[in-house]
Amino acid sequence: MSLLTVEGLSKSFKGLRAVDDVSFEVEQGAILGIIGPNGAGKTTAFNLIAGAIKPDAGTVTLDGKDITGHPPHKIAAAGMARTFQLMRPFYSMDVLQNVTVAVLAGGASEKSARDQAAGIIERIGLSQWRDSPTEGLPTAALKRLELARALAIKPRVLLLDEVLAGLVPAEREPVLGLLEELRTQDGVTLVFVEHIMAAVMRLSDSVLVLNLGQVLTQGSPQEVTSDPRVIEAYLGEEPSA
């Protein structure tokens, strides 16, 4: 049985169908890439799945349990973490405190939380920034902080919204390596939205293409990238890589 099932998910904003009857499944330990032009509804889909906004229709099932419309903190507690495309650090805290709070939220004891947080920071490659306030951090560090906080709650499913955006190619490689390791070592199931096709090709078992809120197609990375409809949907978009 698949770990995450999304069925017929829909959401309109004042008549605009931002997400329109979207369905997909993700197996335990799989990696699903989601691509689509800007405004396709990818972030909105994440918001619906993670409970940040309530869907107009459709269901979200995590490990057999219906979590549709549950409050976000319950969904997180059920094992699903997400990152924000527009980074949302806790501004009054430094990087270590940001991650420590997340570790605590994941249920760790107050004693061990800081050590665990430091470990995660090390693993994500944020050590250089560990004791810095979040204000004024470069995008690359903030993106990784998003990832570090999400990992800190030890999720089974991780929703990543453009974690590579804003990173120069040299900075992407360690993050990609980490994501692969998350799957192989930690057994985390990944759903990630990404514009950088090289990353999508390398990581995804399967790729879902959204356009104008709807699923355009889903398939292996090769199938999807050779699909003329996908190419058409991206026409007019400047190539990103």
Binding site: P71, H73, S127, A152, I153
Partner: protein, 345 residues
Amino acid sequence: MTTTTQPAAATKALPKLPWSRHLLVTAVLAVVLIPLPMLLDPAAEAVAIRVLLFAIMSISWNIMSGFGGLFSFGHAAFFGIGAYSTAWLQVEKGVSPWIGMAVGVVIAALFALVMGVLALRYKLKGAYFALVTLAFAEMLRLWATNSDLVNRAVGYHVPLRPEESWWWMQFAPDSANYFFIALGLMILGLLVSILFLRSRAGQFALAARDDDEASAALGIPVVRYKVLTMMVSAALMATAGTLYLQYYLFIDPDLAFGSAMSIQAILPAVIGGVATIWGPVIGAVVLGPLTDITATLLRNPPPFLDFLAGRGGLDVVVYGILLVIIILVLPKGIYGALRDRWSRR
């Protein structure tokens, strides 16, 4: 999850946390202040007690509005609940103010629970939240003013006892014991602040203040911890109500629930530094003596202020001017500004 093995030597030592330093300062403060009554004349001791009272109130406000980010414009509600619970139990039922204080603490916390659940369930923020707190305090004031249960607008006088008594929290007017009780409550307030912030709940409250969506996405039940923060703050504020009643021996609805009391809880924290442990204390030390300084000035005004002789209100004018200046010039307050300067070195 398994962490990749890494050389331990590469890891920097974790920075020290500030809590033990804060606790140490609190302890030193307590020890240094205990002998103070021996050095002060009665008038100065009255000022010291007012400073402590301001500090307790503002430490409380700072927990909810500084650390919790929930701007309270009606903290008098909790103060009044403390004062009135104590007064009612003592005058009508002959119950010790210590028990009255405990009851006040519980009722204030429950009141905060109701208010918090209502306001946060409906997602009120910013000005709307502040206005709800104001409305609740005003409703209590209006209710008390017209309710036979609590003696209407007349309020309560604490019956005078023939001799000093700890049980009745009543001493000679210049007794050092009032000072000790006030000091004890302020130290308690500081400990509550520090320990709450250090705790899991306090950390969650801070996170929820900084960004509630990001907090919720990590599994933090944001509303629960915000309400908890309000309850802690309300409980502390209620003790100030009891202290006020026992020291000044009188309470009425306007004093207890009026916006002047809410403002007195706000000012020291804002002037000393919002969302800092020591800001409210520093602000109280600055503001507390002002009333006496201005009162002395107006009792014997310099010639050019002759026409103001015997008038009141100058102290609050000065409060107001200080408030405006601080917000415009030192928006982080005195302590906040000093701390920034030190840490930049």
